[in-house]
């Protein structure tokens, strides 16, 4: 392997790693606030990319229909679980967020799609369509299980993953698609050709990570979320509603997933189920970060991206085997140095 190939692999790895980093910090955030190991995080990535792809072709994507379906499920779930203490306030909230919002977005998408208003509109619309799915999924699947163990929540997360994959096939169909790059510029750096897309990926990721750090370090809401993650009962006692915190963390996760989807769209052909592998690789990074540390997670994500690039050069058939085997020594190491304490049941 000469320097050119090495640099090429490095660039490839860093770009993939940057996307994994966005997905991975979403996983860490969701785990910290709700203890859910959110396996379906990758689905947001795939769905966002597919939404942008459809909009680019001037076709109205099925995403708002999926959003409406989730909204109806969330409304049903809310009404069933809170049947005895159903207030007007709650009914109004359900009507606005679960029903009116998806319908409004549906009409907006139908109106805007044929007009082909360009990349910025497509991206904003995709983010607007994907982000509300996060809190809806939290309310449907995880809020009723909020007091269960991590294992029960993990199994439920797998259940959600299966359902979303199935729904993805129904709403987006089996065909894959790619999107146009954010920037078609490219320049040479010695032997290496750097594409504008890779620069865009790095810039967007860096900006989001900085915003993320500022949000959790400087704002009251960010601090409240951190309080929930370190001690749920304590947070409740000082008046932080954990349900709202859970919904909020899922909204951020969906938002980060949507942005990742917009970034990977031009890099690969995205299918309805492509998100799973992206999510799992991000997951390897999140585990290395111990599901706690954001900076370590970002470094680990870049490492996973680079390792994947190297493996695909050396033994492309066994790329996935090697990436996932990598996690086992990491788990053993975490298990010894950060032992997990049994939860009281």
């Amino acid at each position: 392997m000469d320097t050119t190939i090495f640099l090429f692999l490095l660039q490839d790895g860093v770009i993939n790693g940057a996307v994994y980093a966005l997905v991975a910090i979403a996983l860490v955030l969701v785990f910290a606030v709700t203890r859910v190991i959110f396996v379906p995080q990758g689905e947001f990535v795939a769905f966002a990319a597919l939404t942008v792809a459809a909009l680019e072709h001037g076709i109205a994507p099925s995403t708002p229909w999926l959003l409406l379906a989730l909204g109806i499920l969330a409304a049903i779930s809310d009404i069933v679980w809170h049947f005895r203490d159903l207030t007007w306030k709650r009914i109004l909230r359900i009507a606005v967020f679960d029903l009116a919002l998806p319908v409004a977005l549906l009409l907006l998408t139908q109106a805007l799609a044929p007009m082909k208003l360009g990349q910025v509109v497509n991206i904003l619309l995709a983010i607007a369509l994907i982000t509300p799915m996060g809190p809806m999924i939290y309310r449907i699947a995880f809020e009723p299980l909020a007091h269960s163990t991590v294992l029960v929540l993990l199994m439920a997360a797998f259940g959600v993953h299966f359902s979303l994959i199935g729904l993805g096939l129904v709403f987006f169909g089996p065909e894959g698609s790619g999107t146009t790059p954010l920037s078609s510029a490219s320049f040479s750096l010695g032997d290496l050709v750097v594409t504008g897309q890779s620069v865009a990926v790095l810039i967007v990721t860096a900006v989001l990570l900085v915003l993320f750090a500022l949000f959790f370090g400087r704002t009251l809401l960010g601090k409240a979320l951190r309080a929930c993650s370190s001690n749920r009962i304590g947070a409740r006692l000082v008046g932080i509603p954990t349900s709202v915190a859970g919904q909020f963390s899922f909204a951020i996760a969906a938002l980060l997933g949507a942005v990742s989807g917009i970034l990977v769209g031009p890099l690969m052909t995205v299918f309805y189920d492509s998100g799973f592998l992206i999510g799992l690789k991000a997951f390897v990074a999140a585990i290395i970060g111990g599901l706690v540390s954001y900076p370590l997670t970002v470094i680990a994500a870049l490492g996973v991206g680079f390792a994947e690039a190297l493996f695909s050069f050396w033994a492309s058939n066994f790329k996935e085997v090697l990436v996932f085997t990598l996690i086992i020594p990491v788990l053993a190491w975490r298990s010894i140095y950060a032992p997990y304490h049994e939860e009281s049941e």
Binding site: F158, T325, L331
Partner: protein, 589 residues
């Protein structure tokens, strides 16, 4: 109603097992029954692994794959008879499970299921990329099983093979769970500390369960390969692994028959959905996964104990065997009264900068009751945990009957004859009281996995249960012996722990606040029991807050305050000791 509940499962089972041979059941359904049977084997393994042993695995399908591919390669590439490949398939699965398990079962908490997902995916891609396994296309043309020259291709004939395997697996698993090793395994999920304190090698027990579950999956894989007559990587991925887990959870984690119910539920659901959904959506696809996910989430939300307990109620009480010819376990020869048993020399334990136990010295002689007292936070329980090996010493030495306990583990403490109770009761709530107590006699038995599976351990089990029953009578709980331990009050549970510790045939009994939560009458009975135990030659080291109880009982008291020993002597002197009074009541400076 209860009669109906207990008779319904065997009648339904009998009807279903006979149905294929009446000629009324179409082949389509017989084939479905065969798939249910094959999945049941994997689910039974998962019930043992997840429901009983507390280790969640998403990767069982990989072991099904190893079973299937082993027989596939041997029959297709080497032309070996399928019957001969069965032991090879099981051995290959066993070897791989032992290697994978050796790393996996040591992982704690949610790291363990995450690891199973990781190697589940890794093995799936491995199957799909190795050319002599046929890569993504798999291995076609696997021969059918033969009896003489007759091929078992008819689903009805294969039904016999599959369900004989399932019935044998159910019997072996039930026998295993009801034996000595099974009790240890059942203690893993809820009270690992108790299992360790009675000599259970917990890592070994976990690995045993892991390998057992994997071998059942390997057997399922072998059956699958010769029924399907081809293998490809598809059914051995993590999706299938989650499906097996769903079966175990749906049926009722922890219930062996529940696994069959869960397997039947999921297999029939998938089949029906595959017929219904394309009609609903207008085109074909993998839609059943929508319903799977929904079912999994709904089961977890509304019936996290699974369907079996809802349909058929709680598990029946155990039927412990009774000894035939008055055989009893050999009793330990206790040391003569007044011999030095336990020597604690300059024992020190620090947690970071906090000195919890500060160079404490004391001795315990045989046939004596020693009280270890002190205000809250004095370091009593830490001292206790140092002696029983639950915590390692920072410096100093502890010796028991001359054996230095430098590298003390709970298991070694148990083997030396130190029986203990816990400050916060460590009981397996879903196991009966007598089985909890019999766990204490774990080291007195020798029957292993195979003797238990073949029910060759009955004579020994009878003796273990006789010991357990005797100790339960001594603490006055014989009448609740068959109840699940979770239904008892806290005071009763403390007495169950005392009975369990006595089952070990201890030389030294270490009791951590045994009188807390006991009523007056129960306290008196416990004091009487401890005096009786002392007269038999057993020593007692007692951590206790109830001063009347400990003063009336102990021969000798050791008083700790802030980790340091401040006084030692007979109760009458301790009562007057100014340092002790100051520690308890505050100084009058």
């Amino acid at each position: 109603m209860t009669a109906l509940r207990s008779f319904a499962p065997p009648i339904v089972a009998a009807v279903l097992l006979i149905a294929p041979f009446t000629g009324w059941l179409p082949d389509y359904w017989v084939t479905l029954f065969n798939y249910i049977g094959i999945s049941s084997l994997v689910a039974i393994g998962l019930v043992l692994l997840t429901g009983v042993g507390g280790m969640t695995s998403f990767g069982q399908s990989a072991f099904v794959g190893f079973g299937a591919y082993t027989t596939g390669v041997l029959t297709v590439h080497f032309g070996i008879s399928p019957w001969l490949t069965l032991p090879v398939a099981l051995l290959v699965t066993m070897a791989i499970a032992a290697a994978v398990g050796a790393v996996t079962v040591r992982l704690s908490g949610h790291y363990l299921p995450l690891a199973t997902i990781a190697w589940g995916i890794a093995f799936f891609y491995l199957f799909g990329n190795i050319s002599w396994l046929g890569a993504h296309d798999g291995l076609p043309g696997i021969p059918a099983l033969r009896v003489g020259s007759h091929q078992l291709i008819d689903p009805k004939e294969y039904f016999v093979v599959v369900w004989v395997a399932v019935v044998l697996a159910v019997i072996a698993t039930q026998n295993l769970l009801n034996g000595r090793v099974g009790r240890a395994v059942r203690a893993l999920r809820r009270s690992t500390r108790a299992a360790e304190a009675f000599g259970v090698n917990t890592a070994g027990a976990k690995l045993m369960v892991f390998v057992y579950a994997a071998m059942l999956a390997g057997l399922a894989g072998w059956l699958y390969a010769h029924f399907q007559r081809s293998v490809s990587p598809g059914p051995f991925g993590v999706v299938a692994g989650t499906e097996y887990l769903l079966m175990a959870v749906l049926g009722g984690a922890g219930r062996v028959y529940g696994a069959i119910l869960g397997a039947a539920g999921i297999t029939v659901l998938r089949d029906q959905l595959q017929n219904l959904l394309p009609w609903l959506f207008g085109h074909t696809g993998n839609f059943e996964s929508i319903a799977y996910g929904a079912v999994l989430v709904l089961v977890l939300q509304t019936a996290s104990n699974g369907l079996w307990p809802i349909l058929f109620g709680p598990p029946p009480p155990p039927k412990p065997p009774t000894p035939r010819d008055g055989n009893q376990l050999p009793t330990k020869v206790l040391p003569a009264p007044g011999v030095r048993l336990l020597q604690v020399q300059d024992a020190r334990k620090t947690f970071g900068g906090l000195v919890a136990v500060n160079d404490v010295n004391f001795e315990v002689e045989s046939s004596r009751i020693i009280g270890l007292i002190g205000p809250n936070g004095a370091g009593k329980s830490t001292t206790f945990n140092l002696i029983t090996g639950a915590l390692p010493l920072t410096s100093g030495a502890i010796a028991f009957e001359g054996h230095p306990l430098q590298t003390q583990t709970p298991q070694r403490a148990a083997a030396l004859g130190l029986g203990r109770t816990f400050q916060h009761v460590e009981i397996v709530p879903d196991m009966s009281v007598i089985e909890n107590v019999a766990l204490g006699a774990n080291l007195l038995g020798h029957a292993g996995v195979f003797r238990a599976m073949l029910k060759l351990d009955r004579a020994e089990e009878a003796m273990l249960f006789a010991t357990a029953r005797r100790q339960l009578e001594r603490v006055g709980l014989a009448d609740v012996a068959m109840q699940p331990a979770g239904t008892l009050a806290l005071g009763q549970l403390r007495l169950v722990e005392v009975a369990r510790a006595l089952c070990l045939n201890p030389i030294l009994l270490l009791l951590d606040e045994p009188a807390a939560g006991l009523r007056v009458g129960e306290k008196k009975a416990l004091a009487k029991l401890l005096r009786e135990v002392r007269s038999e030659g057993v020593s007692v080291l007692l951590v206790e807050h109830d001063m009347d109880f400990v003063m009336s009982l102990a021969d000798h008291l050791v008083v700790l305050d802030f980790g340091t020993k401040i006084a030692e002597g007979v109760p009458a002197d301790i009562r007057k000791n100014p340092a002790v009074l100051e520690a308890y009541l505050g100084g009058v400076s």
